[in-house]
Symmetry: C2
Subunit: 193 residues, 2 copies
DNA sequence: ATTTGAATAATTGATTCAAAAGTTCAAATA
DNA sequence: TATTTGAACTTTTGAATCAATTATTCAAAT
């Protein structure tokens, strides 16, 4: 098996354990056992436990982002792309229990403060994806000619706020309805006609 | 001096100390010293330190809410009211250093989760104020006939998100511009024409 | 190039204990 | 009677210790 493939296996196993037991309760040996190797061998792939955690999470977030990026390419106009980004980002999380459980364990994976974002790179990439959709919408004349940078920053913050409300601090309440109404409001504020 | 007035004095002194030193580093004796009494006498006004903290914060939040509520009454139409609520809520915080410092010390005063909101009552009151403005806007035909409850919940969450970005997790970044662009977007999504 | 076992280093959790802070209350004051 | 106080009492905190667990390294083996 390729080294890269084995890394994947390790990250996947680690993510599942971290999601269920949290960072502290998960030992490096637990992870090693799950992939069938000794704990010392884990250190051949990552330099320490912290890196094991961060790379596991980054890996999962990248997969998430790349899935949405691929789905965007299936349609051509900006309005449809915007709806896909908005809706599918949430649905993906619904379908991936480990990642969802992890977000609920580690509240700070999603923060409203970029400067303390441990996963800045992948989150920034997701934001750039959204920015590109908005830019395209303006170019097509479908969106109002807004300040792209600041509107993107605003919408990304709203997106994080939704994630927190829906998965991190869920009241089991009607966040679905709030999502629909909020999206409609923003869509109306963004689209001409 | 009235008992109620002395309570005010105590809450004001306590808020200032809590804001500067945090809950733990502030002792009941510190508060007593600041208002010129003995710590045992503090217990004539509140039942314990926790209540001293909560009532101090509630008191400050109520003053904040009531100030905005009074300002709203100076204009008659919903659009203007909406702008006043949006803008003045932030400006008030700029003008009140103790309260601002407190929010930065105790991150959970503003939470996106109503069920774990220790100041639910006053925050809920603020949300009702916003809801009333939206309802009025719809009645006047100025706003789209949105789902009042869920749009209010959405807008209040956006408001909390802004507070967190601007004061709790401030990067010193361009949250002003983001605020302006976000407000414009939402205003356009809310108002007819 | 990858894996392992064994040794070492660092962290955690339980326990103790004295000092500091929180709380109560009977007596004093106004 | 409403408010305040000093002195006791109770609870919490922080530092120190120590054993057990966990993280990390590395030379030798595959």
């Amino acid at each position: 098996m390729e080294k890269a493939d084995k890394k994947q296996k390790i990250f996947q196993a680690a993510l599942s354990l971290f999601a269920h037991y949290g960072y502290r309760k998960t030992t490096v040996e637990d992870v090693a056992d799950k992939v069938g190797m000794t704990k010392s061998n884990i250190y051949f792939y990552v330099k320490n436990k912290q890196e094991l955690y961060e790379k596991s999470v980054s890996h999962a977030l990248e997969k998430w982002r790349d899935t949405i990026a691929a789905e965007i390419e299936t349609v051509s106009n900006a309005k449809e792309k915007f709806v896909i980004v908005s809706r599918r980002s949430f649905e993906y999380l619904n379908d991936h229990e480990d990642l969802r459980a992890l977000l609920m364990k580690d509240h700070d994976i999603f923060t409203l403060s970029p400067s303390e974002d441990r996963f800045y790179e992948v989150n920034h990439g997701a934001m750039m994806m959204l920015k590109e959709v908005i830019r395209q919408g303006i170019d097509e004349g479908a969106f109002y000619p807004v300040d792209v940078d600041h509107v993107t920053e605003f919408l990304f913050s709203v997106y994080i706020m939704f994630l927190i409300k829906a998965y991190v601090k869920s009241d089991g309440s009607s966040s679905d309805r709030m999502f629909e109404e909020g999206l409609a409001l923003i869509f109306r504020g963004l689209c001409k006609i």
